[in-house]
Amino acid sequence: MHIDPLEKKWAQIVLAICALFVGILMIDALFHSVNAPSNVETINSAKLHLSEEFAEDNLGVQMDEKGDITVRMVAGRYSFFPKKISVPAETKLTFRWVSIDVLHGVHIPMTNMSTMIVPGFVAEIETSFPKPGDYPVLCNEYCGLGHDHMWSKIDVVEKDQWNASQITTKGGDEK
């Protein structure tokens, strides 16, 4: 068997390139917890309205006693509910998404808030938004002929401003 010395050198370079990429991804995943949304948590999508967590009153932005913010959202043809929410910038947010019917996906453009929403599962994702602004929340998986119309809104507001609004309105979500 013949292996050319140049070929050998190139193979080593290629291995090094791939190892570098994999290395960066692994360091981020294992030491900085930069992971894909993967919580493998099941839920009965047909009975969301009877579940405690995703009952209508419980949807939207909620802050617990420790100050941790959870955003619970239901995806259904053809919108995300609640249709408009407001969250603070530069704050850790835990999104929990469920589908009431078919497969959906959600992406807030220019951010890494992206996950598939598979019926039967809760998709959980932690993120924070560095820049305040009005962002659209877009369905990015074909879910039926009205798919184009499946979107909602999220307002990312300055942290101080958001905190102030919490004191006056009590409970951050607008329904």
Partner: protein
């Protein structure tokens, strides 16, 4: 050797492939126009999603499968210099697969199967669509069986000899396809069909997605391997050169086949039903499968450099200019490699685990796969057709110059179309929308890119029509000239000796694949049987 049947088999398969291709090209241009929203009269989600579903099925399943089968039969018979084993069976497979295509096409075209080529339960299509798709796969298994039988028979008849590289690659691809299609076949037989026929009411969506992901990555290597085969066995000869290293070529095919299988979860990075550890494992495998492509780039460019220097090219880059750019095979590989560089770069972004969140399901993704499939891969299907048509029809090519124009316009059109498509993805446009109705300022920035895409699509459509025109003119033109060439395979630069058995055998790799698949898919599939999962009922769309 009288190879009438072989030539007929190859031509019949490839005509089905290219007819599907040209129909799908028209749909593609309609889609890019419709989704831009520039022409209000075209606005129709029902029509758009029927068209997208059909375009996907025709391009991804029909063009590819039929081209690969036709090319494979002719490669087997010419490289081994034997007739096709069991020709009746081969024709049986052809008709079965064609029947499948027709059965699937009826509901697709009547808007009863607008579930995209990826099926996506719990949205349910007409039963005939699933039946048709399944028959197409079963028909293609006939081809796989014939390739493997011919490979084994030849090895038995020629003990200790090296199987020709073209046949080795083709047989590896047949084995790859059997393994690849098993995922979607399991989904179809145990989940989709019983559910579509109404024998069960619900479907396990997580399991269905997992099984589809099994198929979804290696299928693209099934499409790509014929292009790589042409890189290795045709291009050097056409350029006036030699295959730089046969050992490296075999190793590349083996790593491609073995490692393209256990990595499908990079399609599920954003899915909640699989855990991060499995995704990471598949992610690492995804980078392993980049290695043979890097090696292929080296080996084929080495062959081209030798050609350029033999033709008098000097200096670091001078050999590029002295390549025979007017040879369709040589021109197509240069354009194919250019698209592979950019498409490969995009692919690395997609493969990058959590980073995938930035572009997942955005317009970036179809931009990527059009560049790497419709670009890198299909441009080689064109040049293989230009090479084989005179041999198969015994008539000279109608016009080499027009063929060169066709290849150039395909490359230019693909560049114009896919560059803005990638940008749109980065700007957040979702991939599967038929119109932009988001009441948001951001979407205004999308419009100029949509306009560019329409123009790219037009160039591509013109190029596709020219391709079909050339094949028709060659085969049915009025020329009385007889073409007498035969398929010639590249010779190696370094003579092949003492080839280890593992570079000449498929059995050992079959076992390696079995182990890797068990490791990477075993628990992720089994989990659906011990988790408390909730199945979905069927939904319309």
């Amino acid at each position: 050797m009288n190879d009438n049947t072989e030539r007929n088999l190859a031509l019949s398969h490839m005509w089905v492939a290219f007819i599907a291709f040209i129909l799908a090209c028209f749909m593609g241009e309609y889609q890019v126009l419709e989704r831009s929203g520039f022409i209000e009269a075209l606005d129709s989600p029902a029509m758009y999603f029927a068209s997208v579903s059909t375009h996907g099925v025709l391009m991804a399943y029909v063009l590819t499968t039929f081209f690969i089968m036709g090319f494979g039969y002719y490669t087997a018979s010419t490289s081994l210099k034997v007739p096709i084993w069991n020709k009746q069976l081969a024709w049986g497979g052809f008709w079965l697969a064609l029947l499948g295509v027709i059965l699937a096409a009826i509901p697709l075209l009547s808007g009863l199967a607008s579930v995209l080529y990826t099926f996506y339960p719990p949205v349910q299509a007409d039963t005939m669509f699933y039946v048709g798709a399944t028959l197409l796969i079963v028909g293609s298994w006939v081809w796989c069986g014939i390739m493997i039988v011919m490979f084994l028979q030849w090895k038995e008849a020629n003990p200790g000899e090296t199987v020709p590289l073209a046949m080795f690659a083709t047989t590896m691809n047949a084995m790859l396809w059997l393994w690849t299609s098993a995922g979607v076949a399991l989904e179809s037989l145990f989940l989709l069909l019983p559910w579509a026929f109404g024998w069960v009411d619900t479907i396990d969506v997580g399991l269905a997605r997992t099984l589809f992901a099994w198929t979804l990555h290696p299928i693209v290597y099934f499409w790509l391997i014929p292009a790589y085969t042409a890189y290795y066995v045709f291009v050097p000869k056409h350029a006036g050169s030699y295959l730089f290293s046969e050992e490296a070529a075999r190793a590349a095919f083996i790593v491609l086949v073995v490692f393209s299988l256990p990595i499908g979860f990079h399609h599920l990075y954003m899915d909640p039903e699989q855990a991060s550890g499995w995704k990471m494992l598949h992610g690492v495998g995804t980078f392993v499968v980049a290695i043979p492509t890097f090696m292929t780039g080296f080996t084929v460019i080495a062959a081209l450099e030798i050609a350029g220097r033999l033709r008098g090219g000097k200096g670091l880059f001078g050999w590029i200019g002295s390549l025979p750019w007017t040879n369709t095979m040589v021109l197509s590989i240069i354009l194919s490699l250019l698209m592979l560089i950019f498409g490969g770069f995009g692919g690395i972004v997609n493969a990058s685990y959590a980073m995938n969140a930035m572009i997942h399901n955005t317009a970036w993704v179809p931009g990527h796969f059009h560049l790497i499939f419709a670009g890198t891969t299909v441009i080689m299907y064109f040049s293989i057709a230009y090479y084989l048509w005179p041999i198969l029809t015994k008539k000279p090519i109608y016009s080499n110059n027009l063929a060169l124009v066709q290849l150039w316009t395909w490359f230019i059109g693909m560049s114009i179309m896919t560059t803005p498509w990638h940008v749109l993805g980065l700007l957040g446009q979702p991939r599967r929308i038929s119109s932009v109705v988001y009441n948001n300022l951001m979407t205004l920035s999308w419009e100029p890119y949509e306009l560019l895409m329409i123009m790219g699509g037009l160039v591509l459509l013109g190029s596709a029509c020219l391709f079909i025109y050339l094949l028709v003119k060659t085969q049915f033109g009025s020329t009385t000239e007889v073409f007498e060439g035969e398929v010639e395979y590249a010779e190696t630069y370094h003579p092949v000796k003492d080839l280890p058995d593992y570079l000449n055998d498929i059995k050992i790799w079959n076992k390696v694949i079995a182990v890797l698949m068990l490791v990477s898919f075993g628990i992720p599939i089994l989990q659906f049987f011990f988790l408390d999962t909730y199945d979905s009922s069927a939904w319309g769309y």
